[in-house]
């Protein structure tokens, strides 16, 4: 992969080509790291422009409400040349995004696949409804879906996928195309994966560390989000109670001659103060979403580690199997019984078998050994490839994570600065009013 000075210029390109969709929305402030010049994002401008409510029939033929999202794409060269062509667009619902992601998860097991925005509102504080139809929730989901597409389209490996391309450009027939890939059959069974996790003997240390890291990351980000929601709830309370000052000062001002004006105007400022918390907390939700993304990334990270455990385990199993078979051949060939076996016991009891039978069995064993060797070669290759690619993507992920989260933290600090400045303004105004009393 090209990891040279091109990164700088690619990064700049990405920044210049902020998707300029109709309603002026931009992507999240963090530009995904680019490593390969041929990622989709370079050729195509993508955005999720709108959300719309629909009513339709679901699988059981009952009416339901759902939301669809408008995906708009434009060729990047046209954008760069200053032409402003109308975008191609199509509508997708959340479940289709899920299907796309599941397909990517199965098809690219060495890639840390970007997560989707949460299915249900989690870590809510009291004001937000957990209702999926809530307009604020839908808006944040729209942003999250766009972010997902941008991340996927800038990934050196994922961005080349045909199904992804199809998803972005052709509305109809996509689902059928996905199912036709047969990815569902390729999916590792949960049971197999779980078994591997427990029984694997020598997983690569780096993957073990990564798995441990992903567990910790999940734990810390959950804790952070939970605490943040509680703080938001309390802060909301503090601001809103100040609104009561507005009402009470107003009532009091009615009976005061000299103090009345001052009280009244101070009351207005208190009302404004109380109202200001709504915007402040809505903005903070975007920050929370950035943390949530990495909470979900932890799961994707763990998936890659589990895949490693599986490939490693299968290699171990096939290697062990080969060893066993070779031992059996040796025993059969030399007549020496080294290990306890049923055959050995029956031989002792009933006498050794006739030579023709032995020849047949030996031949069978040889074939099995050949197959076994082939299997071991395959499994070794599979494991090796997965380790190599997995490590590369883990590195890429690590850099992306540090950059994204640092930016998120800084934007959080800027939000606090903004909130403090508003507070200073309100209380300066209030103080002026009080001085006039």
């Amino acid at each position: 992969m090209a990891e040279d000075g091109r990164d700088e210029s690619l990064a700049t390109d990405e920044e210049d080509s902020e998707p300029s969709c109709e309603d002026g929305t931009g992507s999240l402030s963090s530009a995904p790291m680019l490593e390969d010049g041929s990622t989709l994002i370079r050729r195509m401008e993508i955005c999720v422009a709108e959300a719309e409510k629909r009513t339709g029939k679901n699988a059981v033929n009952m009416g339901e409400n759902y939301t669809v999202y408008l995906i708009e794409t434009r060729p990047m060269d046209a954008v760069n040349e200053g032409r402003n062509p109308a975008p191609d667009s199509l509508w997708r619902r959340y479940s289709e995004f899920e299907l796309l992601r599941n397909y990517l998860l199965v098809s690219y097991p060495c890639v840390i696949v970007p997560p989707l925005p949460e299915k249900r509102a989690e870590f809510v504080w009291h004001k937000l409804s957990a209702d999926n139809m809530d307009p604020d929730f839908v808006e944040r989901r729209r942003v999250g879906l766009e972010n997902f597409l941008l991340r996927v389209a800038s990934h050196p490996v994922l961005s080349n996928d045909k199904i992804l391309h199809h998803f972005l450009t052709e509305e109809h027939g996509w689902k059928e195309a996905v199912y036709e890939t047969g990815f569902q059959a390729k999916a590792d069974s949960r049971l197999r994966a779980l078994s591997a996790t427990f029984r694997v003997r020598n997983p690569d240390k780096r993957f073990v560390e990564m798995k441990h890291y992903s567990d910790e990351l999940q734990s810390h980000t959950s804790q952070l989000l939970r605490a943040r929601a509680r703080v938001a709830d309390r802060l909301y309370g503090v601001y809103k109670v100040h609104g009561n000052y507005g009402r009470v000062f107003s009532e009091w001002s009615a009976i005061e001659r000299e103090m009345g004006d001052g009280l009244q105007s101070a009351g207005h400022h208190m009302d404004a103060f109380a109202a200001s918390i709504d915007d402040i907390l809505e903005e903070e939700e975007h920050y929370a979403d950035q943390i949530k993304e990495y909470l979900s990334f932890a799961e994707a990270l763990r998936a890659v580690c589990r895949k490693h455990e599986l490939t490693q385990f299968e290699l171990e199993v096939s290697t062990q199997d080969l060893i066993t078979k070779r031992q059996q051949r040796e025993e059969l060939a030399t007549g020496m019984v080294r290990t306890f076996s049923f055959k050995g016991v029956t031989n002792k009891l009933f006498g050794a078998e006739p030579p023709e039978q032995r020849e047949a069995r030996l031949k069978l064993l040889e074939e099995l050994i050949c197959e076994g060797e082939e299997t071991v070669r395959e499994k070794t290759l599979e494991r090796q490839e997965h380790v190599e690619r997995g490590l590369i993507d883990m590195q890429r992920f690590k850099q992306q994570k540090d950059k994204d989260l640092k930016e998120a933290l800084l934007s959080y600090a800027l939000m606090q600065v903004s909130m403090c400045k508003k507070g200073i303004q309100v209380w300066s105004n209030a103080k002026e009013c009080f001085l006039k009393m």
């Binding site: 605490a227 802060l235 309370g237 933290l409 600090a413 403090c420």
Partner: protein, 421 residues
């Protein structure tokens, strides 16, 4: 010097009712008593305004005219066989000639403050005597001897004496002098019952219910109206303030849970560790600032609001007493007119005078009280607003410092998706 400016009424304090000839001079209290930008008026020896302490903790200017300084401090626990109670040190400094020395120190307990107030009420039934802190605190089951409770009570007692010390009439009360100077108050406590004998009460309240308040002059009806509405309003402001402080304290608690989430995460990370620690520290600092601010608000705003909540009750009582005095007169006056009962004309004249004096005393003190209200409330609210300002400025500094440490310009508008529309 200050001594010259005492009103002549001070000379005749043995009389239970005030003799106020200086009505005209006292008119000034309805006028604006401070400059437009909030500074107090410059001092002028002839101005009666200087007698009235307009801003509670006002330094310098008014101090020159004051001749009585009282402070309450040093709460001490006293244990006897029967009970445990707190004694407060009451320290008086004065230049008044009628005091034996310029500095006196006595120890007093709450009971004795209470005695003083009753005595002042008896002597001046229609003056608005400053309130005492409550005897018991019902809400919150406060431990009677908890530090907070004692401190709050001590400050309220201090304010009580402060206000009395600058009151033109009350500050010259012999009861006050006894309270401030007598090492043992017991002999003073034994004085007979005050102006209102028990027997008179029944007659009065019957008469009152018969006449209603139709005889009450308009000015006092207006006053009653104001007092009722004021009472509601001041209670509301008090309640809202206490609720804000409560909410703020709960916010602080949550912040203390929130900041470790960042520092604990920081231990897991390498490149991210520094910014995470930075955010954690900033949150912790803000939590401390919020806590300090809640405490200061509690110290600055709550006591003043609470005092005026209690004042509302005092005002009602004073108005009722005034009504009673009027009833007393009217009953006897009617009796005289109808000649049904053998009524002494002199007695009726005396009652009439008493009514006039009571009305005048109330009128004057009302203006005094209004001026104090305005000054106290304004000062308290300005302080509260200022404290809030400081709080936000401190938090701003914390976050700006974090941003600078990460080499980010805090002034930049954060590049973020604004809410749609």
């Amino acid at each position: 010097m200050a001594a010259q400016d005492t009103p002549s009424s001070a000379a005749d304090l043995s009389a239970p009712v005030l003799d106020l000839d200086e009505d005209d001079d006292l008119e000034v209290f309805s006028k604006k008593t401070s400059l437009s930008d909030g500074r107090p008026l410059p001092t002028s020896p002839s101005s009666m305004t200087n007698q009235y302490h307009l801003d509670q903790e006002e330094p310098d200017e008014n101090l020159k005219q004051r001749d009585l300084f009282i402070s309450v401090d040093n709460p001490e626990s006293h244990v006897t066989a029967i009970e445990t109670f707190i004694m407060y040190r009451v320290l008086t400094r004065t230049t008044r000639p009628d005091f034996d020395s310029s500095e006196v120190e006595v120890m007093r307990r709450y009971q004795e403050f209470s005695w003083l107030r009753s005595k002042l009420e008896e002597s001046h039934p229609t003056l608005i005597i400053p309130p005492l802190p409550e005897k018991f605190v019902v809400k919150g089951m406060v431990e009677r001897f908890s530090e907070d409770f004692i401190e709050t009570r001590k400050r309220a007692l201090h304010r009580f004496l402060q206000k009395i010390s600058v009151h033109p009439v009350l500050s010259h009360s012999p009861h006050l002098k006894a309270f401030l100077t007598a090492q043992d108050l017991t002999p003073h406590k034994k004085q007979g019952p005050g102006l209102f004998s028990r027997m008179g009460d029944t007659v009065r309240s019957m008469a009152q219910s018969v006449r209603g308040s139709r005889g009450r002059p308009q000015e006092f009806c207006t006053l009653q109206d104001y007092v009722d509405r004021f009472s509601t309003n001041i209670s509301s402001v008090d309640k809202v303030t206490q609720r804000i402080i409560r909410e703020q304290r709960e916010y602080v608690d949550e912040l203390h849970q929130y900041s470790p989430a960042y520092s604990q995460w920081a231990e897991l990370e390498e490149g991210l560790s520094e910014p995470l620690q930075g955010v954690s520290r900033s949150l912790e600092l803000c939590a401390q600032e919020t806590d300090a601010q809640a405490q200061d608000l509690s110290d600055v705003l709550v006591p003043v609001l609470h005092e005026y909540v209690l004042c509302a009750d005092t005002l009602r009582t004073v108005l009722r007493r005034r009504d009673n005095i009027q009833t007393d007169f009217e009953v006897k006056n009617e009796a005289l007119a109808t000649k049904k009962v053998d009524q002494d004309m002199e007695e009726v004249e005396a009652l009439s005078d008493r009514l006039e004096q009571a009305n005048q005393a109330l009128r004057t003190d009302w203006r005094h009280w209004r001026s104090n209200l305005r000054s106290d409330v304004r000062t308290a609210l300005v302080s509260a607003a200022d404290r809030n300002l400081q709080y936000y400025e401190k938090c701003l500094a914390v976050w700006e410092s974090f941003l600078l440490s990460q080499k980010v310009d805090p002034a930049q508008h954060h590049n973020h998706k604004s809410s749609s529309t």
